[in-house]
């Protein structure tokens, strides 16, 4: 197999794994807040976290440029301080994948946490267990199927991310060309053999992840 194909596969997996790691950490935290707490700005947080799910990925990518670009709200001070910008790096692909996959994790985990019987949580508190302990020993194990399903879906979404990624990471062969971007390039340049191989591999990987997600979500607790 061509080294460029292997590179794209490797980069896609690397980006998806790192993005999913952060998606799980941040997603479970936000899902817990939305499922269990009442606070001012809850609806706003929910809307902001869900937006990347309904917006075109190119719009998400555009906002990422506004925030993280060399002249962006956060990107500018970082560039002035360190001389480094995230734009057009593989880390930008991680960022884009993180943002588009996060809503899937939040929504799946939130739904799973909301199904946990509130009496179980109250019992745990009256037994002297802290909120953190209750979360790790009661809520999380009881919501684990939903969390696994959310993780698998987020990983698959991160692997397949294209629109926002090409906006912030570009299409630099050997640096930022993840599988979806490499397929786009091959199709554009008429390299159909490579496009066929990448598309076939991607289809198999996606199907496997969907099967895994279905298995987790249909299993009983």
């Amino acid at each position: 197999m061509e080294s460029s194909v292997l590179f794209s596969i490797g980069l896609s997996i690397q980006v998806a794994v790192i993005a999913t790691f952060f998606v799980v950490l941040v997603g479970i935290g936000i899902a817990y807040l939305l499922a269990m707490k009442n606070f001012r700005g809850k609806i706003l947080l929910d809307v902001i976290c869900t937006l990347p799910l309904v917006m075109p990925p190119s719009v998400t990518g555009y906002y990422l440029i506004i925030v993280f670009g060399r002249n962006g709200v956060l990107g500018k001070p970082v560039y002035e301080l360190t001389g480094w910008s995230i734009m057009f790096t593989w880390q930008a692909a991680v960022l884009a994948s993180f943002v588009v996959a996060l809503p899937l994790m939040i929504r799946t985990t939130r739904a799973a946490l909301e199904t946990v019987d509130r009496d179980l949580i109250r019992v745990s508190y009256t037994l002297g267990r802290s909120e953190l302990e209750t979360f790790f020993k009661i809520s999380l194990p009881l919501a684990k199927r939903g969390i696994y399903a959310g993780t698998v879906l987020s990983f698959a979404r991160a692997m397949g991310e294209f629109g926002a990624t090409i906006m912030v990471a570009g299409n630099i062969p050997g640096r930022t060309d993840t599988m979806p971007i490499a397929i786009y390039s091959c199709a554009g340049s008429g390299d159909w053999q490579k496009a066929h191989i990448l598309a076939a591999i991607f289809t198999v990987i996606s199907a496997l992840f969907l099967l895994a997600a279905n298995r987790f979500s249909s299993s009983s607790v």
Binding site: R122, Y125, L142
Partner: protein, 244 residues
Amino acid sequence: MSLNVQIQKKYSRFQLDVSWEIKDELAVIFGPSGSGKSLSLHMVAGLVCPDSGTITSGSRIFYDRDKKISLSPQQRCMGYVFQSPALFPHMSAKENILYGGTGLDTADLIRRYKEVIDLFQLTGLESRKPAELSGGQKQRIAFARALIRKPDILLLDEPFSALDMQIRSEMWDFLRDIRRFIKIPVILVTHDVYEAYSLADRVIVYEDGCITDHGRPHEVFSPQAMPECETPLMFSFMLSRGYY
């Protein structure tokens, strides 16, 4: 030990304003659904915060609005048994009970575990998951879990209402038995007149968020005080229990 409760809470369509005191006895909060019984218990446990008032036990202050004291449920050391046994479905009976042993060191935890297993007749059930247990067994495990760390107060929120009549009657006997070993204030919420009459040392009657009567069961449930007690069913029940 005693428990003094004086609490107020206002919602858009309901207002709770009650004041009562109990000692090391079994007090039944009795009243119809929606009268504020369970809400009172939630407030005593620290699961719901009153708008104003005080909840104290001797010199211990659980809640005092004026002094801005409101202990969390974790700090109150109260055992709470809910209407549903609320056993953790992913844990075995043993794990459920041990989960209640917060603050005990390993030696104490093992000793207390053996004590409650004997007291609640749970030998042989330790490895079973809640789904493999009957309603009565689940509720006995819920009691064991609530009592393993020797709470200062035991709160029972209609713990027998979901059980069928035969199991419920067994659980009443069981509660009478275990009260010989636990000398702490016990508060039982119920809307079942038989349960209230047969178990209570003291009855506090709630209606629409207020206390309408309180006293010994034979005072509160006398035909003069409560005309429903004249029904043949209630009379036959009392006869069977030897009250007349």
